[in-house]
């Protein structure tokens, strides 16, 4: 089983200036492609050779885990954007967000604070935890909710490569801008 680079579900020039075409060229075309290539190389001749991605993530560690989890995290990240997104959640997800965080605005505030305060490379997540409630979590490097019995709904990549071309050191500005391209239709479908 050979993994391949998953195509973006939108034209990568249409999210400008929140995420520039240049950032997509590297983030999707180079970083994600490298994780795909690395995993294909690393798993050859191992017990992971014919496993699906989720099983590899759950059963591996070290470089195989890092590359596999980064493939999942990035695909999940790239899939949640749209040039004309649904700007806020409705229905059951909206109710769950209100129940957990008081309001949608307060959720965004808390999630942004989490994303800004991940120290080093990593990810901020909105997940459904084992108790069935919504929770904001932070993961470093290739960390992913899949190994923690959590269902991921939304994620912000805060590795510097996700924003350095467009925002340099200004991670808070990147995080504030990213809300404009999150498609809540996609997030609702994951709930």
């Amino acid at each position: 089983m050979t993994f391949e680079l998953k195509k973006l579900p939108y034209d990568p020039t249409t999210l400008n200036p929140v995420v520039s075409p240049k950032t997509f060229e590297f983030h999707h075309g180079k970083h994600l492609q490298a994780y795909v290539n690395n995993l294909n190389n690393l798993k050859t001749g191992t017990k992971f050779e014919n496993m699906d991605l989720i099983s590899i993530i759950k059963e591996s560690e070290g470089p195989i885990f890092n590359n596999a989890a980064q493939i999942f995290n990035h695909e999940f990240y790239f899939d949640q954007f749209a040039p004309s997104p649904k700007s806020k959640p409705e229905g059951a997800l909206a109710a769950a967000i209100d129940a957990a965080f008081g309001s949608f605005d307060n959720f965004k505030k808390e999630f942004s604070a989490a994303a800004v305060s991940v120290f080093g490379s990593g990810w901020a997540w909105l997940v459904v935890n084992a108790a069935g409630t919504l929770e904001i979590t932070k993961e470093s490097n290739a960390g992913t909710p899949l190994t923690k019995n959590q269902k991921p709904l939304l994620t912000f990549d805060v590795w510097e490569h996700a924003y350095y071309i467009d925002f340099q050191n200004r991670r808070p500005d990147h995080v504030a801008a990213l809300w404009d391209v999150i498609d809540w239709k996609v997030i609702e479908s994951r709930f």
């Binding site: 590297f26 180079k30 970083h31 120290f119 080093g120 470093s140 350095y164 340099q168």
Partner: protein
């Protein structure tokens, strides 16, 4: 005698009124932003020094001031980092590491001392092999972090990696020792020029290493 007493009391009052901001110095870069061109570009140097390094420094002095600032030199704080908050570990580490890193580079051609050259050959077989192993360590730090050449307690040279802003002086890291050379492999150290190609940045770093500084650090460490 009176004069000495007076001066001493002035000194004590001055010390008590010191803020963390005054006590911890944000040192100037030992060269201009463009001095390491074309190996390290000036935009990267400026952002790295004036934004990232300054940011760590500002966070660190603010946290020290709000906590229990007690006139401890930075190196002592770093060596006892387990008694401080994670925030101070991260930002104090970022402050110390970057200052050390700037000193590891120079626009001038420098040479390793005979003692250091011999130690490198003794520990790694050859300089070429040391270069290969150090570059490999720098290239394989996953996520943000640093690769170091350290002198261990037994006086041996060793290549180690640390995550985020940890360093080998900290009492919390696995591989402790005295750092004599460091390379920053956070993406901010190379992304503007090299994007995803960290190996190209690491290769360029060899062109600007300040071997005089590394040799001095080695001599201090084995004294």
């Amino acid at each position: 005698m009176k004069k000495i007493l007076f001066l001493t009391s002035v000194l004590v009052v001055w010390q008590l009124s010191l803020t963390a901001q005054n006590f911890y110095e944000f040192k100037e870069l030992p060269y201009s932003y463009s001095a390491l061109e074309p190996y390290i570009d000036s935009t990267t140097m400026e952002t790295h020094y004036a934004k990232h390094h300054k940011g760590y420094y500002n966070n660190f002095v603010k946290a020290m001031q709000e906590g229990n600032f007690d006139n401890k030199p930075l190196e002592q704080v770093i060596q006892n980092i387990s008694s401080y908050s994670v925030f101070i570990r991260n930002n104090g580490g970022g402050y110390w590491n970057h200052e050390f890193f700037w000193n590891c580079m120079s626009p001038n051609k420098t040479q390793a001392s005979n003692a250091l050259t011999k130690a490198i050959t003794d520990n790694f077989g050859s300089f070429e092999n040391f270069k290969k192993e150090f570059s490999s360590a720098a290239s394989t730090v996953f996520g943000s972090g640093w690769a170091w050449l350290i002198v261990t307690d037994s006086g041996k040279l060793k290549i180690v990696k640390t995550a985020n802003q940890d360093n080998p002086l900290m009492d919390v890291v696995a591989d402790k020792g005295t750092p004599i050379l460091a390379i920053d492999v956070w993406e901010h150290a190379y992304y503007l020029k090299h994007k995803n190609l960290r190996a190209a940045y690491v290769e360029n770093f060899w062109q600007v290493i300040n071997w005089q500084f590394v040799s001095e650090k080695y001599a201090d460490a084995v004294k």
